[in-house]
Amino acid sequence: MSDKEKDDIGPEAFFSDWIKTYMAFWESMTAMWPAANMAAGVPKESKRDGKSSRFEKSWRSTQKTWKTWSQVISEPETMEAIFKGTGILPEFFLTLAQTGLKSFVQIQKQWLEKAEKVQDSTKSYTFENLDEDAIKVWIQLYETELRKIFNIPQLGLTRFYQEKMIRSVDKYNIFQSSLTEFLRLLSLPMEKSFQVMQEKLTELADKGNLPEDSKAYYQMWIKTLEGHYMTLFQSLEYTKILNKTLHSMSEFSEAKKDLLQDTLLYMLPVPTQKEMDELYKEIYLLKKRIKELEIKLLKSN
């Protein structure tokens, strides 16, 4: 087999021949268009004002573009360039895949670093403060690391809504963390009162003074519990966490209102709370003004 024959059956020749055949088929199909119309009984007069239909016109234009493109593509030089290019493809895909993998590994590395930070904190746990430290670590982790995810800028037409949604989720998480911390604080007197009771009972048992009446045990416990609560409530830490919880509850409530009432409700044919508040304020000020005028009028009369 000569070199020329080899070339003739190579991929370039095969692809070039296929394009030519393909074009010839569609050319003959297009040429049949008027004949097909006649056969279908579409009269020549149906062409309004001697113009072709929009579909026919569009079809012919597409075919013309395709013909030009296929002629260029089926030239031997173009074919050769294309098939040389395909040799580079695996290299291209490899580069693409490597870049993607590298980014993925980078993100994974960052996450592992964040996770290690949690581990660092847990190492210092003492058994007594396990729940307290866990809550504090979670709050710190959320506020310094996880929260950053919610700060990723939102894009596109719906970015405004996405931001509001994300803000309310973020505020909810912060509120939940504060509430957990607050509830933990409230549970401490309970825990301590039981510990104190155990000690007292042991002491009384040692002395042989254990009360016979079960009510006496209850009274002993409730007094201890009350005392512990009073001590807690007067502490600075309690006031600080109480205010933090109230603050985060307000922020969540505001974000929720912003999303549900002032954004989603805004799309419905009902007034939002913000709109109603504005109206209430106007009515309030108007009523006040009317009362002032009434008093002035009465005095002048």
């Binding site: 409230l186 007197p189 048992a205 040692d206 002395k207 042989g208 254990l210 016979e212 009446d213 079960s214 209850y218 409730i222 519990l225 009350e226 609560y229 009073m230 409530f233 007067q234 006031t239 600080k240 109480l242 205010n243 109230l246 603050h247 307000s250 922020e251 409530s253 505001e254 209102k257 709370q273 109603m276 508040d277 209430y280 304020k281 009515i283 309030y284 006040k288 009362k291």
Partner: protein
Amino acid sequence: MAQSKISVDLILSKLAEEAEKAGESVQKASDVLLEPLETEIAVTPYDIVYEEDRVKLKHYKPTGDTQLKRPLLVVYALINRETMLDLQPGRSVVHNFLQEGIDVYMIDWGYPARKDRYLTIDDHVNGYMDNVVNFILDKHRLDKIHLMGICMGGTFCVIYSALHPEKIKNLVTTVTPTNFDTDQGLLHIWMKDMDVDRIVDTYGNIPGDIMNMGFLLLNPARLMIDKYVGFMENMANKKFVENFVRMEKWIFDSPDVPGETFRQFIRDCYQKNLLIQNKMEVGGKRVDLKKITMPLLNFYGKYDHLVPPEACELLTGKVGSKDTEDICLDTGHIGIYVSSKCQKEFAPKIARWLKERDEDKKSSSEKKQQK
């Protein structure tokens, strides 16, 4: 054989005895809870004689001859409801006043709605209260009436009396906070650092349930545990159950507090303590306590955990009046009005005090003419 330090036999027999009693009690309790109970509150008959927005003025029907020339206007707080003064027959300050021959009016602040969020202390004191006072003065053709305030309502009465002293004959304040710079009450401690702007801006009006939660947290051991343990122990006692339910009805009937009023009350009173220093401004006017020149009777509770004595007792020394009296009762914030012991002291004392000061002081020339 050595005797055990712990009298196990005695403890076990006591437990068995208590278990038996508890069984009987549960049986009786189910009978009590399943039969009809009288738990109505605020049953003393009254007419609504004036209405403005959500605010109503109750006029109680006299039970006998009125012994005072001037009627008494009672102003309750915006927190919880005035029904506490008429909780049940036999434990009703209103009923006791009527029995003493006092003509009683009482403001019902109603339930503030969202639209009321912009109402300030000025709107309540110089608006609603002043309109109510004017209505009573017109109706009775009088120049002055007696005024009595409860808790925050007492603070409103102090402000009103300082701004409109010409309309008040005698002032009675009960568990009324006027000095907020104290660490004795937990509320005073907690409110100091509260971000009131944030809360008011978020909620508009302050939800009654949130306020109630705050009050329960003042003493969870007693208010959330011990109180209900007491109820369980006395469930077989119908009267006890009825009274308990009445109190529950009242305590959890909490209207929201108008936002702007709450904001000013916390900021000017709890956080800046302006009232007692004569620095508070209401409706553009400074509240000068020296202008309170009418007689003042000031009641407070020794064991009040909401408004401790330190928050109440400075007032009498700061007003312009020379005729003042402090009375500290051995009870708490609510006990003054509902405890059986205070029922015998509280209303009769106020009635006596008012009767002694009801008439206009005659001028020396009038006295000479009479002689």
